[in-house]
């Protein structure tokens, strides 16, 4: 067994320049593309590890939102919470579907830089791969939960509507929201290590204002505050496309999209700026 001979170097070999970070930020999309396989491997690793040695394995992807939905349904029935004329379970599950995805992805993205400290200090790859994989690995659980929702729709005999075609857009919006905030929190957590402990509280509060109170029942004078929550647009969008009640909540989706784009772009810039110091701090 001999090592393969090195390819003869021609002057066409790309020259890589290693220099101090420059002041202006440019998104390194081509580098990200070259490392797409690595992103896949990180997603694969996260998913595999999450379910190794668990009893019901991927069943948790169904059980978690299901249990949450049960809780809400019971609460809703007894407290008389609004449900926009849909059966309670469907109403809440349709919000919990994107919400659970967002909550787990956000927490994973926040922790990922610190958890992968060892690898970051030993090998080079664009660090953005880590929060990106954290956010993408949540999609695996999401698809399993989505199947569950389809089963529930069959059970409640709710027919699908053409609005369903919008679902991929809302999913993309959810992914970008998770990524945008995940980049901010992930970079901050790498520098201030207690940020990760704040995130669960943030998520709890966020869930209260997003999932529990449907948009249609927010008093008009607080509507603007409600729409500032990017997840409000995502959840309303999900509810609308899955269950077809009401009309397309256009304004709230537009506001959410704009907000999410701002958070994503600024988060990306901040993350890349911090990237250069993270390896020194880790």
């Amino acid at each position: 067994m001999t090592a393969a001979p090195a390819a003869p170097l021609s002057s066409e070999q790309p020259i890589l320049r290693i220099e101090p970070p420059n002041r202006w930020w440019a998104p390194a999309l081509d580098e990200l593309w070259t490392h797409r396989e690595l992103a896949y491997f990180f997603v694969w690793r996260d998913v595999k590890i999450r379910y190794k040695q668990t009893l019901i394995g991927a069943g948790w992807a169904v059980l978690q939102p299901f249990l949450a939905m049960l809780v809400f349904t019971l609460l809703g029935r007894s407290a008389g919470l609004p449900s926009d004329s849909s059966p309670y379970p469907l109403f809440y599950y349709s919000a919990l579907l994107p919400w659970m995805y967002f909550a787990t992805s956000l927490q994973n993205a926040t922790n990922t830089m610190v958890e992968n400290q060892r690898v970051i200090t030993k090998v080079y790859f664009p660090r953005l791969v880590l929060p990106l994989s954290a956010v993408l690995s949540g999609l695996v659980d999401f698809s399993i939960s989505l199947l569950m929702f389809v089963a529930m729709m069959v059970y409640y005999r709710v027919p699908p509507s053409p609005a369903l075609l919008w679902l991929p857009f809302f999913l993309l919006l959810a992914v970008c929201t998770a990524l945008g905030f995940g980049l901010w929190l992930g970079a901050l957590n790498a520098i201030y290590r207690d940020v990760r402990y704040v995130v669960p509280f943030l998520i709890e509060f966020w869930m209260l204002v997003s999932v529990v109170i449907p948009g249609s029942h927010v008093p008009a004078k607080w509507r603007w505050a409600y729409e500032l929550n990017p997840m409000a647009g995502v959840i309303e969008g999900f509810r609308w496309s899955l269950m077809r009640n009401g009309s397309l909540p256009g304004r709230s989706i537009l506001v959410s999209t704009v907000l999410v784009l701002i958070v994503l772009v600024t988060g990306w810039a901040y993350f890349q700026k911090m990237e250069t110091t993270i390896a020194d701090v880790a």
Binding site: M1, T2, A3, A6, I15, I18, F41, R45, K48, K122
Partner: protein, 439 residues
Amino acid sequence: MSQSVIEVRGIGKRYRIGEREPYMALRDVLANALRTPFRRCPRRPTEHVWAVRDVSFDVCQGEVVGLIGRNGAGKSTLLKLLSRITRPTEGYAEVRGRVGSLLEVGTGFHPELTGRENVYLSGAILGMKRLEIARKFDEIVAFAGVERFIDTALKHYSSGMQMRLAFAVAAHLEPEILLIDEVLAVGDLEFQKKCLGKMEEVSHAGRTIIFVSHNATAVTRLCGRCILLRSGIVDRDGPANEIIGAYIRSGLHTSACREWDLKDAPGDDIVRLRCVRVRSAEGNIAEAFDIRNPIAVDVAFEVLEGGQMLVPNLHFFNDEGTNLFISIDTDPIWRRRERPSGRYVSTVFIPGNFLAEGTIVVGAAITTLAPMSVRLEERDAIAFQVVDSMDGDSARGDYAGLLPGAVRPLLRWETSYEPDCPADNVFVEPRPQKELHGP
């Protein structure tokens, strides 16, 4: 004419040090802000240290360059800069070709995944494409010798197996440029030999290698050229054996004789070390000695305050840092006797045909025994070479190749011979050789 694949120009890396925590807690930042809202705190001057400063060199394709220096000289930082793990503060480097860096063994390994899964994961992290890993998978597993366990979780592997697998993955990385950081410092002798062999193979295949190590033997064996870093700057750059010789001598401030003035002599108010030197039994100070000849090491010290029982001791190391032995002064005249103040010279005699070939580094210490306390310690005080002139009467016998071993004593061997092999007993009382053939 090979073109340069690595061009480094004036590269430098500065770190902030001082009381700053490596990472901060937001609550501390806020608490500090609350504590002093109105008081204008004088800004604590942030201290900086340059781990690497103004380093420039070129490496041509196919060169194997050793990067040596003491701990803290900046070797790992330079490698991290070239691996893009950290960005330089100033200067730049240009690299032509794919870079693979081995800064540790087992990057990315996860104990819950199986060996197979870890090979793919680690390979991907190190930069291999999935198809490439699939193609080389069987080779990798064979190199590590873990075929039977490849589908068991990694946490069930012994540490030796984990390391072999990790190295096997890394060894099959085929970048044009390979940066290796003291990876060979781990593992047993067998494994280290295997790694060395694989690296030699890689260099013969035309790849460029930069190899950081403390192991002078490995560096001499693999590298044609050596760069010596000292406190972040390039001290020397040239042919390997020259640089390594200079490193051993200058980097360790060593020669065959070392003296101190009283004011900077190691020690305390009781005793001060004045001189350590190595000489032949007859008294000639030299840097190299024949392996067959006895050697003497003198330790000269001054006792300033009498009344203690002081025990000089010498520590002998080889160039890999292995402790060969420690010799404690058991001279019966001064043993268990309080020493009055004055000038002492303690000498230890090392018999010939005992030390192995190579560099021997000597450290000196003086200890009191009751209570046990080390009065002074001077590591790397002196160094000398032990050379075998291969005349045939050393412990080598007729063997001329690389002979490992921390020590090389010349021992007595005896043989007995019996022309007819007895059926059962191997150790039947045969006649010893000298009876047959005479002296």
